[in-house]
Amino acid sequence: MNSLELLSEFETFLQKKKDTGKKIIAFLGHDNIPIELLEAADFFPLRMIFAGDDQLMNSSNTYLPPSTCSFAQSCIGYFTLTPRTHKFLEYVDYFLLSNHCVSDICVSEIISDVADLKRLDFYVPYYRNENASKYYKIELTNLKNEIEKLTRERIPDYKIRDSIIKQNDFKKVVKDISNLKIKGYEKLKLYQKAMLFGPNVQPELERIVEKHRDHNEINLKEYKNLLLTGCSIFIDDFLIDLIDESGGNIVHFDTWIGHQYYSQIFSQETLEKIQDPYKLLIKRFETNVYGDHCISHSLENQINSIINYINQFKKENPNMEDVAVLNHIIKFCDHFSLFQSTFKQKLQEKGVKVLNLERDYSRAMRGQLRTRIEAFMEMI
């Protein structure tokens, strides 16, 4: 399925949701948003996980200087450019502001203003410790109260818990996808679909997992195997095509669309032990060590996670070349740009080959990106 089909299918899907009276709440996709709380309030959570282009980026220039991350710029473009690139964004009722990065705050404010959308705020602590967990609870309660004020309906705890269990089961399916022996290109499409539709596509994904489970549909020896880290590859981004065309295959997506999403699965034991849904959400925040929002050990955790994966891959594929790392950095990204040279140096010290691939969404960059990816492939 290509991106056009996926987006068209989503358009129909969202139209149906809207027809049933569902309220759509959009937000810049990241890993600390309690979407279960939104679902329990009968909202459909719509993650902004769409890549940009020149036109979308340029249309944000009225609001932001050009030295802003091109994903953030494009998100504004999706709401300001007419006719809208994605018509389904017209169905959005609310916008959720969060502080994954400071651009998340700015962009959410701008979008809710220009698109005249009621805004809800949810701030995530910058640090991860006992007090940060307590603060996360304060924000959860505040968000719940704000939603209840808006909808004039109470959100019962059991509904949040049900949603947690539903999302948890869904994440298990997404994790199963990560274990399939299919091309990275295909995996990404499935991850993106999962992120967009949520548990609504669980039966379809289960069928796909079942179909491919015991089949090895890719000979890894034919490809240069890569681990993708840094910024996620969003829907309709040509980067994955470039990697594919250059003979590369991503075996592991160490990004929010991928490992950081399904690494947040609760064990059955935890679900049984913790009945309070808020405590479960807090627990998830506490254990989300691979996310890039919180400091002060995000780089260390990212490197450990990558090394663990590479070692595991070596163990499972002893006769194969080592996995190389492609660090995808969207230009002006606060979270991954600053670390890039330290990141590369630390991994190279451990014998890992790394390409820091910094880019924006302009078409003009395509040739340059291709050259850099191809050169890296030759090197590995």
């Binding site: 404010e109 400091i295 600053l338």
Partner: protein, 447 residues
Amino acid sequence: MSVFTDDIIGFKSVLRLAYNFLNGNSYLKRQKFKERKKLISVALPFSDLIFASDAVPVFPIRMEKFNIHPYLTALDTAKNLLGWNWTTKLLTIARKFDFLEILDNVLDDVIYTINDKYNELYDLAIDNGIPSDFCYGITGLTGMFISKAKNLDANINFTIRCSAWNKYSETLQDYVPRQIWVDIPPRNLDNSVELLADNVSKAISDLEDVTGNFVTDNSLKKQFRIGNQIKRFYKTILFELSNSDFYPCNPATFAEILALLGISFQDYNSNAQRYLENFSDLVKESRERIDKERGMDVSDMPRILVTPVFGGWEPQVHEILYDLGARTIYADWEILNLLEEIDVSKNSDPIRSYAEFLFKPTTYGIGYNQEALTDSYIETAKELQVDGIVFNQVFGCHSISNCYSRLRKKIRRKLEIPTTVINFNKIGENVEQVKTRLGAFMEMFHL
């Protein structure tokens, strides 16, 4: 010729502030090796806890050796022999015989020396792999740590909503292994003040661990009192002196002084008591000069707020504005609510008071979003009664520079004063464009 020199020679408080800033390297060496004090780095004006633990706060550029002009070194010698009063008198006499205008160069060097060093450290960071698309402030700070972090015993970090800042803070553990964190919750909701107070307590424990000193309520309150007095003097300069029709010096010099205060306020030049005395003298001397009509009538010069500058700005701005007939006000710390006093009343809990203080910039100053930040600009501009605003859009700044379009709308709606934006990437890089832009901006005052 410098606009700084002529005025400053008789201004001993300013000379002292400048000298104490530039002489940081030898002062800090003495503190570390002779006085056995711990050096703890800090950026942004959050040095109070460090002082209270009897350690020495260091805004890291001050560990650098500056190319101090030989005359300024001689000034130090004279100061040691004769004291500051006689030294400034001597300088005034020397000025009369300074046919070669040597003294012009001496004091002209102060701000330019600091800025040259900023650029040098910015380049050092770039050479060490920091991407050039980060803001000047963070890049320059990283350069400072690359250059001199080995001298530090610890570094203190405060989380704010700028994600680049928080990530930069995380990278500092590569340069200074001992990191102390004060995590400020993003918003002041519910019992967040208690959480923040607890985080402050933990940071104090870490400071005690590093210094071996015990931090008491009294030591905290004593430091907060000093800080409060400094802030009061700072506000006097911003609200009383900068608002008067007669300045104690020419307006470009006045702006230079504000710039120096802005930079040095971050660590009080590593000595809070001395800094307070300098500030007190500065206010006193300024008033005396005004009383004696030593200075300049500025009643017909519009007052222009140039902001933000703490993350880097083109220091020629105030000279350009002066040439165009305006006076420049730098007031970042006031805008960001960092000149708010800390409660030191008899029954107050100093840790909680400090937590409440920390929430003010988060809530009303830099704010937890752009709405709050732009409100803060509007409020301060109103209180300062400025006639125009020049917004300094720093390349790569994603938290403050991004608010300009929102701010411009608010200024039009609520203040109805002229505004313009200038772009900044690195000192000295964009001067001609800045001149053109400011020229067009100043035309609005002559219509």
